[in-house]
């Protein structure tokens, strides 16, 4: 029987999720169990899928290319985000109900507090290399970064530094100069590949800063679909040269998910030196054994992310990435893609840009 969005059960579930997400209070297993029941009740597709492959196996990200499972079709969508479409056949959409979007906000802010706030409580200057939420209302990362800046950042100086014509280098330079003058730590957040270009551009202009202690850089997205790849430590070296930042970490987020994952250790694990991502009270990454679909404690397989701040969609997602499980967490090691071709044999995956 379908559970309506305005059902008191959903309101109670929301409260418990909010507590878990924000404060780490509650038993994630209970929430997970309820989310499984909700998904089975509200999405016949998910119910059939789990009947075939096992309850709780992540829904493939490709599902969202066709709209994907939405657990509350009765609830008006207060926000619609579009997936990037960089990984295959066109862009998908994900819809958020009011309660779902509120949970996303709580989740993003809680993770930001855990990872972005310097230990001394000073609010850093948060400079996301993404458009502002107003400029890009359909971009989930713009929403997320807006929340991060608002919840953790210096209210006066924090700002998105990407405008309609790309990175606003003048604005960036002004904010960095001010931060240096006032001794405020800076948090730079943006796409991995953007930092490659930004460092190239600033080095070419001969510009560099020594940002105050406590400054950090968070990159996300990696190099999927890019012709040029760079090892994690190479990128860090460039960032060190240009911004004088010593503390780096990588963030993993997807439009299909509500929350984000952060590096849990500074140990190179993936082929490009990718660090492992850790879990948080309301979920985290796991790796499915590609042979048995069981969870692996160590080794390579399919990355599956549990996100107990997701109310509008199933809380488990197969991202289409390879994951490498290690004791500290899971390193995300590129797209599963179509596999290496052998000799003259070609697969349709390669012809169509991956099984997306």
């Amino acid at each position: 029987m379908t559970v309506a969005h305005d059902d008191p059960h959903v309101a109670r579930l929301f409260d418990r999720m909010a507590q878990l997400v924000s404060e780490g209070v509650g038993d994630p297993r209970d929430v997970q169990e309820e989310l499984v029941e909700l998904a089975i009740a509200n999405s016949p597709d998910v119910a059939r899928y789990w009947k075939q492959v096992g309850v709780g196996v992540g829904v493939p990200d490709t599902a969202y290319k066709d709209g994907g499972p939405h657990l509350f079709p009765d609830a008006p969508a207060v926000r619609v985000f579009r997936t990037s479409g960089t990984t295959g056949s066109g862009r998908g959409t994900v819809r958020y109900s009011a309660l779902g979007l509120e949970l996303k906000r709580l989740a993003i802010e809680a993770q930001a507090r855990r990872h972005l706030r310097p230990d001394d409580g000073v609010r850093p200057v948060v400079l996301p290399f993404v458009p502002s939420e107003e400029a890009a209302p359909e971009m989930a990362i713009a929403f997320d970064m807006g929340r991060v800046a608002r919840s953790c950042g210096d209210p006066e100086l924090s700002t998105a530094v990407v405008g309609p014509n790309g990175v606003d280098f003048d604005l960036l330079a002004r904010r960095l100069d001010t931060a240096v003058a006032e001794g405020l730590p800076v948090v730079l957040i943006g796409a991995t590949f953007a930092f490659v270009n930004i460092c190239d551009a600033l080095e070419a202009q001969g510009k560099s800063w020594r940002l105050p202690p406590g400054s950090r850089l968070f990159d996300g997205g990696g190099f999927k679909g890019r012709s040029r790849v760079m090892r994690v430590d190479e990128l860090r070296a460039a960032v060190r040269r240009v911004f004088g930042i010593e503390r780096h970490a990588n963030i993993f987020g997807m439009t299909e998910l509500a929350n984000q994952l952060f590096d849990s250790a500074d140990t190179p694990v993936g082929p490009l030196g990718e660090r492992p991502k850790g879990s948080h009270p309301a979920g985290g990454p796991k790796v499915r054994d590609p042979h048995t679909r069981e969870y692996l404690t160590e080794g390579t397989g399919l990355l599956e992310i549990t996100d107990l701040s997701l109310l509008d969609r199933p809380h488990v997602l197969l991202t289409g990435d390879l994951g490498i499980a290690v004791p500290e967490g899971v390193a995300i090691a590129g797209r599963v893609a179509g596999g290496a071709s052998r000799g003259c044999s070609l697969t349709l995956d390669e012809m169509t840009g991956g099984a997306e």
């Binding site: 075939q52 493939p60 390879l322 697969t347």
Partner: protein, 458 residues
């Protein structure tokens, strides 16, 4: 045993190389001085040219006679090593070798020579006022997706009396040298006309040195690998390329009515299981008439299970396994939301059958993923293949009567170079014009005598 082959005349020693797969390592040597190799091949070529073509055919046949026995020691060792490096089961490799070696018996070789040249004896001298002359040295760069595949081009080159520099594939380096060792026992002139070695893909110096002593080049491999070789080929080189290819199957209602869904499924299962579906000849998808698609798919699950029992699939590494499991889960998700889609699969990753009504977004094959896509008619099947025309190679065409002839012609126009019955997709004969060109005729230059009083006796 070494994975390289150096003729008796070649200097002892060389640059050692090692190829490995997991804990296993295989060694070989690469020539130090390519000028010496070039001079040696020139001498070997003179010897080779003296051999009548029928003697070459007989020698190859004699080698194959030994290799045809599965318990032949050299074959067993080769199959064991190939299993270690390719991950394929020994039975799958044995079947691949049976198919490849069967092409190299006297009858198919003479048939191929006759089809390409009219009269094989034109290779020995003037016959009917014409003669065919092969290159002096063929440089053959092989790929390793199909065990035994190098035999085809190696033998074609020897038939036209060309010496050969062979680059063995890293993914299946054993067959070529082992085959040449047996050939040396049977007819040393032939084996001593071949140098088989290995160099890395980015070792341009060795590639250029080898190219410098060749007047013909045969390249197998991906589009990128072939392009890298093609860029170095000169105008004086004769060039043959076997780059990326895609193959499909089509089955219409009349064909299922005639053979029954179980038999059609058996044929499709063979096509999708041979070589673990890694050959370019292997079908990516079978486009089946919607009236029978589900019935064929259901039977196919059982047929794939039987194939896996009789010829076990190979082991696959974590990366390939992830690709396969991901494909399955994507297919399962699609099936959960569509009555026209369904998935049947083994407990492990041995085989997968996917029924769908769209070619995309579900994509990919390899490692025994049999995909049935239902189509309203044969025209729709051909249309579905149209976007891939550039890479189209082989079509298993389960169509009968006039429609068969019409469709075969349409596929030929589209770009296919081979049309065969379902179940025979991976069993390309030696007579097939490999990737659309006569590959023996393609290696020779002709000389005709005309307007000469001596013509009658030539």
């Amino acid at each position: 045993m070494s994975v390289s082959w150096m003729p008796e005349w070649a200097p002892v020693g060389g640059v050692p190389f090692t190829l490995s797969s997991g804990p296993h390592e295989w060694r070989g040597v690469r020539p130090v001085d390519w000028a010496v190799i070039g001079a040696g091949l020139e001498t070997a070529h003179r010897e080779l040219r003296r051999l009548p073509v029928r003697r070459i055919v007989a020698a190859v046949d004699a080698v194959v006679d030994l290799w045809a026995k599965r318990d032949f020691a050299a074959r067993r060792a080769t199959v064991r090593d190939a299993a270690r490096v390719t991950g394929m089961s020994e039975e799958t490799i044995d079947r691949a070798l049976d198919a490849e070696l069967g092409n190299l018996r006297t009858e198919p070789l003479l048939a191929a020579l006759t089809r390409d040249l009219g009269d094989p004896e034109v290779l020995d001298g003037f016959t009917g006022g014409t003669t065919a002359v092969g290159p002096r040295t063929v440089l053959a760069v092989f790929s390793g997706n199909v065990p035994g595949l190098p035999a085809r081009s190696l033998v074609r080159a020897l038939l036209v009396k060309a010496t050969v520099i062979a680059k063995v594939p890293a993914r299946e380096p054993h067959f070529t040298a082992a085959f040449l060792r047996t050939l040396h026992d049977v007819e040393p002139v032939l084996a001593d006309a071949v140098v088989a070695t290995y160099w890395d893909r980015d070792d341009e110096e060795t590639l250029e040195a080898a190219l410098g002593h060749a007047d013909a080049v045969i390249a197998y491999g991906g589009d990128q690998a072939c392009a890298a070789i093609r860029a170095k080929v000169g105008p004086h080189h004769l060039y043959e390329e076997h780059s990326h290819k895609l193959s499909f199957g089509i089955v219409d209602a009349g064909y299922v009515d005639r053979h029954g869904p179980a038999e059609v499924a058996r044929q499709i299962a063979a096509d999708c299981s041979d070589f673990d579906q890694h050959a370019c000849l292997s079908p990516q998808v079978y486009l089946v008439h919607e009236q029978h698609a589900r019935a064929v798919a259901r039977h196919l699950a059982e047929a794939m299970r039987r194939e896996a029992r009789d010829s076990p699939p190979g082991t696959i590494d974590a990366q390939d396994a992830a690709v396969l499991q991901h494909r399955r889960l994507v297919a399962e998700w699609r099936a959960a939301g569509s009555e026209r889609s369904e998935v049947w699969a083994s407990e492990g990753l041995e085989w997968t059958v996917v029924l769908d009504d769209a070619l995309t977004p579900l994509s990919g094959a390899g490692n025994r993923v049999a995909r049935i896509v239902s189509v309203p008619d044969v025209a729709a099947a051909v249309d579905a293949m149209r976007p891939y025309a550039e890479h189209l190679q082989n079509v298993g065409l389960g169509v009968v009567g006039e429609e068969f002839r019409r469709t075969a012609r349409e596929l030929a126009t589209l770009g296919a170079s081979r049309v065969c019955a379902p179940g025979a997709m991976t069993k390309a004969s030696m007579v097939w014009r490999h990737d659309g060109q006569p590959r023996i005729a393609g290696l020779v230059r002709w000389c005709d005598i005309e307007l000469h009083p001596e013509l009658e006796t030539s």
